[in-house]
């Protein structure tokens, strides 16, 4: 039976459509504007004539970016950091979380506290910076001279992600594990053949958390990577923005695009990969948030 909508309900529904439409437009407008401004002609951008749709369309700003070696270099570096960083972090986190999820682990509470304490208290960025400098010396002395590996190995671990994994592993029924052990499975086989397949969605979520934070990482990459050829994309964007904004640098007088367009083009290029995979990964993130309310 379909109930007739009451007036108050109807008003509320209309209100929510209006509110959400306005908010959603606010959320995506800056990105749409960036795309329009990146492909609009010089005068239209400089005189502030772009509101939503592009004017006097040109693609030279994008061509400039695509023709820049530094841009592709930065992209490659970001990919390197994301791929290796995620693999390393996931490896460490999965093994650690698996061990922590076992009731028979001695000093389990101590280890848990060891982890959780880092969420309560962090030394701060200056001591961390000093620590990374020391780490760099140690890495150099054992032959790892590439700062990228310092970023991959030393940074980006998050206690919260390990706890998410641990909780997922604790949810695996112990009967299945026992059955596997009776069948002669080793510890490693139990992990790869029982635990990993049974907590696939959490693993995907946590891997995405790591990957996104690597892709978006900026501060430490800027502090620790001295060689500008090794800068990841985020550092490259920021340096370009500073260059265009602070020094009043202008693109050549004859170029058909404005200085702003070059920056917008760079921003658009950097978010395209995320925009492409975003619809597919969005649901995992929603799941991850709901796992956040964890219990000990």
């Amino acid at each position: 039976m379909k109930r007739k909508l009451e007036i108050s309900e109807l008003i509320f529904q209309i209100l929510s459509y209006i509110f959400l439409t306005v908010f959603a437009i606010c959320c995506i407008y800056p990105f749409l504007y960036a795309i329009s401004a990146a492909i609009s002609g010089r005068e239209a951008v400089e005189y502030g004539q772009i509101i939503l749709f592009p004017k006097d369309i040109q693609f030279e700003a994008f061509e400039l970016m695509f023709g820049t070696n530094m841009f592709w270099n930065a992209y490659t570096n970001t990919l390197f950091l994301t791929v290796y960083g995620t693999i390393w972090a996931m490896g460490v986190a999965i093994f650690g979380a698996y061990a922590l999820s076992k009731k028979r682990l001695l000093f389990r509470k101590t280890f848990n506290f060891f982890l959780v304490f880092t969420m309560w208290f962090s030394a701060g960025i200056v001591p961390q910076y000093l620590n990374y400098l020391d780490t760099r010396d140690v890495f150099n002395s054992i032959g790892i001279t590439d700062d990228k590996w310092l970023i991959v190995i030393a940074m980006g671990m998050a206690a919260m992600n390990i706890i998410l994994l641990r909780n997922a592993f604790e949810g695996v029924p112990s009967e299945i594990e026992e059955a596997a052990i009776v069948d002669g499975a080793t510890e490693m086989q139990v992990l790869t053949n029982v635990y990993l397949p049974m907590s696939k969605s959490t693993i995907a979520t946590v891997a995405l958390f790591f990957a996104i934070s690597r892709w978006n990482g900026y501060f430490w990459a800027r502090q620790m990577i001295s060689n500008s050829n090794e800068h990841p994309l985020q550092v490259f964007i920021r340096l370009q923005l500073e260059y265009y904004n602070d020094s009043e640098a202008m693109v050549g007088w004859n170029e058909p695009y404005a200085t702003d367009s070059a920056v917008y083009a760079l921003i658009v290029c950097s978010v395209i990969p995320i925009l492409i995979i975003y619809p597919f990964i969005q649901k995992y993130f929603a799941k991850g948030v709901n796992m956040g309310g964890v219990k000990e």
Binding site: V92, G96, M119, L130, N131, A154, M155, F219, V271, K295
Partner: protein
């Protein structure tokens, strides 16, 4: 613990004599060889403990060693020595931060106040927004429409801080006057909009909103809502859709209108979620995302924008005053930790859910 004779002796009824208690001997042995037994267990189960090692090392090297570096806050700076070998300077850096009227002390207290205020305003303006959005999401009955809204509103969360701040910088950029034959460049689109709405004057817009300390907090909070409100609504929305439809039906039978249903059905059901999220937010009041501030502020806006982390970054990383910077961060983070622990204790008491 010293053992007395009666611990070892039990009365044997069969013989009517005292004899040694064999179980106590075992208990004693276990106690005496506690670490030996631990070692035995670990060796027998070495695969499991080996799995733990990389994680422990990562946390030890890059989370706990920096805490050890905090000792530098009490020591005379000397690059040639490890932090443990340096001379103690006592609390001199803390005195520098606390003592009245030096520039550094003024800047530190300003940064401390800004840190607190930025999160506090975030709590006041940023916290209710996701709840409101979740309530509205619940009203959208069409799945397609709701997915579209969700995709659009979650999107900014996935963008990096650099991309967000670059966009903000460009959207409120300053304009420049024309010189001679060259025409000037118009200010950013958001500044134009605010100008035409009469919210800011032409000169303020031309000078660039990010160069104006009066606008920093507003920009920070509004962009914060833009970034996270949609995504943060997920938690509340999940709590709302978990409400069983029968609750609404019962309320309708009792003659409850839309507002009454909100008041008596929806709000009580999501109250525990709200309380927990609120407590988490309060716990991280001194935990401002320094990256965003660092990317948005400049020397014109230190008055309202400088937070403790950026203060420390300026003095300790960009400058050379490592001791003062460490001391500042240490103070901030200790107070922050007390807030987190306090908030967590309250959460544990207020509900069954503990945050960590």
């Amino acid at each position: 613990m010293k053992k007395i004779a009666s611990d070892y002796l039990v009365y044997d009824e069969a013989t009517g004599k005292y004899r040694e208690d064999p179980e106590q001997k075992v208990r004693d042995d276990v106690e005496k060889h506690y670490w030996l037994n631990v070692a035995r267990t670990v060796i027998k189960d070495w695969r499991l403990y080996l799995m733990l090692v990389p994680m422990l090392l990562v946390f030890l090297f890059w989370r706990y060693f920096p805490m050890y570096e905090l000792l530098g806050a009490f020591k005379v700076p000397d690059d040639t020595l490890a932090v443990a070998d340096r001379l103690y300077s006592g609390f001199s850096y803390f005195k520098m931060l606390f003592a009245g009227d030096s520039t550094m002390s003024v800047e530190f207290w300003r940064a401390f106040r800004n840190t607190f205020l930025l999160s506090f305003y975030g709590l006041c303006f940023g916290f209710p927004m996701p709840i409101i959005i979740a309530l509205f999401f619940n009203e959208i009955k069409s799945n397609i429409a709701r997915s579209i809204y969700q995709v659009a509103t979650y999107l900014p969360k996935f963008m990096s801080t650099v991309v967000m701040t670059s966009l903000i910088t460009m959207l409120v950029r300053r304009g420049s006057e024309g010189i001679g034959q060259f025409e000037g460049i118009e200010m950013g689109i958001i500044s134009q909009l605010l100008c035409s709405l009469g919210l800011i004057t032409e000169e303020v817009g031309q000078a660039g909103l990010l160069n104006n300390p009066d606008f920093f907090r507003a920009i920070y909070q509004i962009s914060g809502i833009w970034e996270t409100a949609g995504y943060d609504s997920i938690v509340f929305f999940a709590a709302i859709i978990a409400i069983s439809p029968t609750s609404y039906e019962a309320a309708q039978i009792d003659g409850a209108g839309k507002m009454a249903q909100m008041r008596y059905v929806v709000l009580p059901s999501i109250l525990s979620t709200i309380v927990i999220m609120l407590i988490t937010r309060i716990g991280s009041l001194l935990n401002v995302g320094y990256e965003k501030v660092l990317l948005l502020y400049n020397s014109h806006t230190y008055v309202t924008a400088d937070v403790v982390s950026t203060f420390a970054q300026r003095y300790g990383i960009a400058g050379t005053m490592i001791g003062v910077a460490s001391a500042a961060e240490m103070l901030n983070n200790i107070v922050g930790m007390l807030l987190v622990i306090g908030a967590n204790t309250i959460a544990r008491k207020a509900s069954d859910v503990s945050l960590y």
